[in-house]
Symmetry: D2
Subunit: 319 residues, 4 copies
């Protein structure tokens, strides 16, 4: 898109997240048997997983590590040309790192780093998931059979990063990737404390909030979408039955009105299940919603106070 006065649409959607875990087997058990993802492959220290409605080979890459946190987050572009346009911009801005050889689920990707250092990848060439015979769906417009297992996570939805400087990170995603800001928190002194951004008609694909520990590059949470609020409530029952630590929820966020439920997977990373999106961002000229300090202090939509750990727990943990 050559005209800077027009909306950019180079990023198609959030592709996948690589998550580090010090307890690979336990994490795989959680994501497969409790959350309901399906394994599509393994290579080296990594296990590749996806929700039943995810069309790509994987949307989560779990990698064994000495600690928790995010390995990288990858975005699929609208086309090969769009990918190349983004690479030029990222290089020009000095955010670029270079090309990778690809992975089990996609071809060569271009790696960049946010101001905090979070690794970001862009790719276009992908591997569509092909269901084995036993997992073929009854309806051919669906990626695989509905698993009817655990929380039945449908598809990857968004991720949330902890960052040292929200405004700088926002600029990275606006200018580097061409994404749009839809909602934000701005403190009384003008500091940005949180931002929600989208590349699609979803109201956000990524969010980031200020990390008060002063440690750069940490991860807040990864979210899978379920179909409806009843599914989130059922997920709470399933987490309870399986001994998973429920940090907070189910409840409704005032920001973005997401119906949320946060748990910690065995590796220590925060995982959210949220409803899959009756709310869409259709207006091309949406003015970002700005939440004030006073508004945020009221808690969540129906009055739940934000739990303290939500502001402090990130991965990897701070020593």
């Amino acid at each position: 898109m050559s005209d800077p006065t027009e909306p950019c649409h180079d990023i198609a959607h959030l592709g996948h997240v690589e998550m580090f875990t010090p307890k690979l087997a336990d994490s795989v058990h959680f994501f497969v048997n409790v959350l309901g993802l399906t394994e599509s492959g393994r290579e080296g220290d990594s296990v590749y997983l996806r929700g039943w409605d995810d069309y790509e080979f994987h949307t989560l890459k779990l990698t064994a590590s000495h600690t928790s946190g995010m390995g990288h987050v990858a975005w699929r572009t609208m086309s090969q040309q769009a990918l190349e346009r983004r690479v030029k911009v990222l290089e020009a801005k000095g955010w670029g790192v270079g090309w990778t050889d690809g992975d089990l689920g996609h071809g060569p990707s271009y790696r960049a780093r946010t101001p905090d250092g979070h690794p970001i990848e862009l790719y276009y060439d992908t591997r569509w998931y092909e269901a084995p015979e036993a997992l073929k769906p009854a309806l051919k417009n669906q990626a695989m059979k509905y698993p009817a297992r655990g929380c039945n996570a449908r598809r990857i939805d968004h991720l949330n990063l902890l960052v040292l400087d929200v405004a700088e990170t926002r600029v990275f995603f606006e200018q580097g990737l061409g994404m749009r800001l839809t909602e934000q928190i701005v403190l009384d002194d003008g500091t940005e404390a949180g931002a929600w951004m989208t590349a699609t008609n979803k109201t956000y694909d990524i969010a980031f909030t200020k990390d008060n520990t002063g440690v750069a590059g940490r991860f807040h949470h990864l979210t899978y979408a379920l179909d409806c609020r009843e599914d989130i409530l059922r997920a709470a029952d399933v987490f309870l039955e399986n001994g998973v630590f429920i940090e907070t929820g189910p409840h409704k966020h005032a920001v973005q009105q997401t119906f949320f439920l946060y748990v910690w997977e065995p590796g220590g990373n925060r995982v959210e299940v949220a409803n899959a999106g009756a709310r869409l961002m259709l207006a091309p000229d949406w003015k970002p919603i700005r939440w004030t300090q006073a508004e945020r202090s009221k808690g969540q939509a129906w009055g739940l106070k934000t739990v303290e750990s939500f502001h402090t727990h990130g991965t990897p943990p701070v020593e």
Copy 2:
């Protein structure tokens, strides 16, 4: 977008539909008190309505007429430049009609006609809905207060046109508006019998099916989205209680997996309520799903046979 090998993204979303009704007062009662829309204005013989999550002034314009049917369907573009690009294309193809002076809810729009003659409008300059004091929402990221009335229709979702030639109409929306085909029905003899197309990450914003009466330019249905399947079931209860004719549903379509419910409003037009979209079209290179004659003869997803009137009833009625 100058490069034809790249996805086009000039249309932002379905804007509104003008619907003719021979019983204006009864139709307004239906849309406001049963479906749960809110009136935002009146002018001449027209009443302007919208769902509680529609951000524009109106998404439905009800106009008194001697018969039923669709007045026009309007699409909002991504920008003024996108609008001008589309006008050039429509004029070049011979589909254009010319500019209008605008309407209560938007500025000048460009009118074109599908091969069947259905009036289509494109506009960018719009009027955002501003809720009066009594209808201000509790959360400022929402267009208005949730009405808690009738079916509580959330937002306009899509429309369906009856057409003489599905393939020609598909080409109009692909080339004229730059929209994408996501699913289609192709008969054994190669004839296209139905098409579902999108301009967004929704899996379709418009559909059209063959009109076997031989009459051009008829209307099949207009759909408002509700949040979840439970809301559709509740809507069925509400329609039953209010004496509204339920044509078929609630059930799940095999095509697009929409959870549907069709009724006829007092003016005779078919109206659908459907769930608002856990299912999204995120892949930029989606290969359209092609349903065969044999597959369609199986009925809907869970086995419901398609009712005969679904193939014959359109508006205006055929003498």
Copy 3:
């Protein structure tokens, strides 16, 4: 209860149903992996199953047989005295058969036969289900862990018998077991064509409809309750994915307003999943609702026509 002018309350609830199947392994697979029941034991040719909220050892006994149909239906009484009172009545009426030695899930039971010959058992002494360690629930007021598997059937709800004479069968349950009629279908000529009866605050625990084949003692369906309508819709998805024949539904019955979904298990027996009962029968002096022939011809609550097989398919099949 000695005073015949007072409501009788000797039957506590429906206990279990024994179902015959010519395909035991397939039927067990269906009930465990698709419907979501849990096996609690095996003996001889029988497998004992229950829903996660069923407090007794079993609510379904699947027994291998040369054909399909119902082995017997058992009712738990309020007390040992209540059981003895019922035995006296059944013997006096000539409906009694005699005492059994009990079964894996309960102590001695008294067997009787309906006018059609359907075997009925009454018992008080039961075996409470004790969950093994791996199936212990997180909340101690629940029988076992929520399975998060298949349709997650919650508890046995009711059964439906095909009978030659609805009125005679109704009298059997009213006088023999002390149950109450809550709704019925009465044809224009005064013949009773269907009856719904309850022993509890559920609006029915058993129903019976006229068998037009002239064959006595057949079985129509067994129903397990799920929590809400969304769960029934999800069950339809699960049945579809698992190749289970969906006969009709999901839809809402006008009679009793049950939200229903009927399928055929591999052995040929009809199984229903229905919502678990926001609707209760609290009035002690409820006047039975009488549906006329004209009213029934309108189809189900939202207009679905009753499928032909619903009137003809019963088990065992008629040669």
Copy 4:
């Protein structure tokens, strides 16, 4: 029931609650337009209300008063004989007060007092609700038309009293009314801190918890049932939009597993909406669940901490 070793079944169900309010007009607005009850009559300083599935003339009597709190709670008996049996018992125990002349919604009732002094009434002769033409339901097995307004409260479910001595109050309901204890909280020192009791197959119709203020006879909350959990979530949206104070919820209680949402009506009384009961008490020999101090300190089912006001706010308020 002459045999004390058998379960008693003299009480049919909770009939209605009289609630005092210092702001009658505001309270009526809340119950009708926000909660969705329907007014069936007025007399003197009282307004009579009911849910759309309540079969009697009223289940809530709102009476203007200088303060808030409960006027009385009334229970319908299974029969006239059952009423007379209960009167004898209440008189013999010294709990009886005497007969009333009846009310707009029922004939003569017998009044008693709990150890705390809460007024209790028993009656059998009742007035069935008759819907006016505009409120006639589409299905004749339903009390009135579904309102499609506000939270659409379905039926009265239970009430909760604050009491000085939980054990004494439990004995009153066990011996005086013949109700059953299903769950309770027992502190480490053996003191009973809460009790949940039932007269039906619902798992509780009344609960009472210890009032630590030392003031006798106060009221904790009145609960109306909605159909499913999604309805409770929607109710939270409706309360939020209408400026109603949400005290806590929606969340799931560990005790009784109720999915709850507590708000304060304009008169100051606490009102709950809860899901209508997939969970039933069918076992005639249920052993009451005893929750310990340690178990209760864990908070609600999914981890929500009990808000402080839940232990202190009762009506009328303590000076």
